[in-house]
Amino acid sequence: MAKKAIEVSNLTFTYPDEEAPVLKDVNFSVNHGEILGIIGPTGAGKSTLAMCVNGLVPQVINGEMEGTVRVNGEDVSESNVAKMSEQVGFVFQEPENQLSQMTIEEEIAFGMGNLGVPRDEMLIRIKDALEQVGLVGFEKRSPLALSGGQQQRLAIASVLAMRPTIMIMDEPTSMLDPKGKNEVYDVLKNLKEYGMTGIIIDHEVERIAAYCDKVLVLSEGEIRMFAPSEEVFTNVEMLHDLTLHAPQVTEFLARYNQQFGQKLKLSTTVEESIEVFESAYK
């Protein structure tokens, strides 16, 4: 596939009743199989940007949009959200709001049913999706009886079962405890192994640094940085300017460099940082 998975060019979006655009001339692209992390302060337009990719903005959430969004080479504005959902899966922030059915298997089958997947195929896909998110054995339970992390994984499973090629997660872990966060990120790692393209919005810089290939930093509707995650998170001054922060180990090395006038290589992983720090003392 020569085409990019997601290609956003000159995207500007303004909500109705608002003067200033929430997204200003945004340009980026994501290759197939890549995972993109979007970080930025609250109100930077992260969610709006994500919703532009599957067409929720501006087709369901109205506003004035300029520029083009292409998914697998197809112009999103010429399609509709329901049609896009075959290609783009979207996981929202609140786990509970995404559930509408009586049992877990029906919840997963719901999206597939809308796509007209035959019943035999459904059963196979339900099993697959539950295995991917680690919820096997819960088929007959009520979604409301699950914990937050499990509910969010269920929401992911029901999107996975629709077999999209691109997965967008909008702050999927913000309502969850650390264990729930790990559960969701483990699923994200699995997706990468399946060759899916992903976009994840989150405030967890440590986890973003560990799991994402590229990171996009958004502030007040503008792209401030768009580079491989290593490069973004080692640019600590820039992150501080935007009231963001790098992973703690990177912050530590940066502060050490600053205080003792050293030029240690900044790293985002704990193991590498230890190595760098130890070698400085040899």
Binding site: A82, K83, Q98, S100, M102, G113, L115
Partner: protein, 297 residues
């Protein structure tokens, strides 16, 4: 599970939801065709084997209690005060007389409630809500309508949970929930206004989610739950048709020669409902007493 559905393995459960819906309609029609207390009592008794067959006797009796309450009230009040009554049947203390015509009227009405209630309870208890939704879709009911029906089961416990959160939050802001009745009624506003807003926001968000799950996509939709009309359903339907034909025959040709409704039947059914009602009250009082004693320990 938030519905009354009782997952059991029975003949009635394995029937197609559409057959059961037709069954409910059939019972409603029958209860109007058989405009006679004796025949309706017969219908009520005839429905009981089905309840037995569906293995839901105990939950059925619990839910039918409330309908019985209506029956007792209607039979007593109408029996005494309905002006259509002329022939006195029997007198209780204080010169209150039960009259034949008004008792017939009251019995027909209350038995009708019981018969229709029984059929409805039977349907609800033996049909999984999702099955009902998918059966409705097969009847060309719009997909969104079936979804609305189904999502009520899901949204009620969520709203209940939110209501608790709102109440606790407002209590933390010094909302007096233990004041006088008037104060409590006033407090409904700070309770319900946020609850409504929260619910609307949740539903709004859900609409985005549904859109992302291709809900508005045109074309055929499939369902995980399979409902199929089998030989059992056909025999059931034919049975219903036969009974319906017989009822119409009875209604048209044999009504004049049938005199099943007697003073004794009316009196006994009235006293019967009283006795059952009395049992209910005794049981209720016993439970209250038990709760009091349990609380003291």
């Amino acid at each position: 599970m938030n519905s009354l559905y009782m997952p059991k393995d029975s003949l009635i459960h394995s029937l197609d939801p559409r057959t059961k819906m037709i069954f409910v309609i059939f019972v409603v029609i029958s209860s109007f065709i058989l405009n006679d207390p004796a025949l309706q009592l017969l219908l009520l008794v005839a429905l009981f084997p089905l309840v037995l067959l569906a293995k839901v006797v105990k939950p059925y009796l619990v839910s039918i209690q409330f309908l019985l309450l209506f029956a007792v009230l209607i039979m007593t009040v109408h029996g005494i005060y309905n002006p259509i009554g002329v022939t006195p049947v029997f007198e209780i203390f204080g010169g209150l007389t039960f009259k034949y015509e008004s008792m017939v009227y009251a019995s027909v009405m209350s038995f009708r409630i019981l018969v229709i209630g029984t059929a409805a309870v039977l349907f609800v208890m033996t049909t999984h809500p999702s099955d009902m939704a998918s059966a409705l879709v097969k009847w060309k009911v719009p997909h969104s309508f079936a979804f609305i029906l189904l999502s009520t089961f899901q949204i009620i416990p969520i709203i209940a949970r939110e209501a608790k959160i709102v109440m606790e939050a407002q209590q933390a802001r010094c909302l007096d929930v233990k004041g006088s009745i008037i104060q409590r009624v006033k407090n409904l506003v700070p309770m319900f206004a946020p609850l409504f807003i929260i619910t609307f926001m949740k539903v709004h968000q859900l609409s985005y989610v549904l859109e992302c799950r291709a809900f508005s996509r045109k074309g055929t939709k499939t369902s995980l739950r399979e409902t199929r009309i089998g030989s059992l359903d056909y025999s059931f339907l034919i049975g219903m048709l036969a009974i319906l034909a017989f009822e119409i025959y009875v209604k048209l040709f044999a009504m004049g020669s049938l005199h099943l409704t007697t003073d004794a039947l009316l009196t006994y059914s009235l006293i019967g409902t009283w006795i059952v009602f009395g049992f209910m009250i005794v049981k209720f009082l016993y439970k209250q007493l038990q709760g009091k004693i349990g609380g003291a320990n």
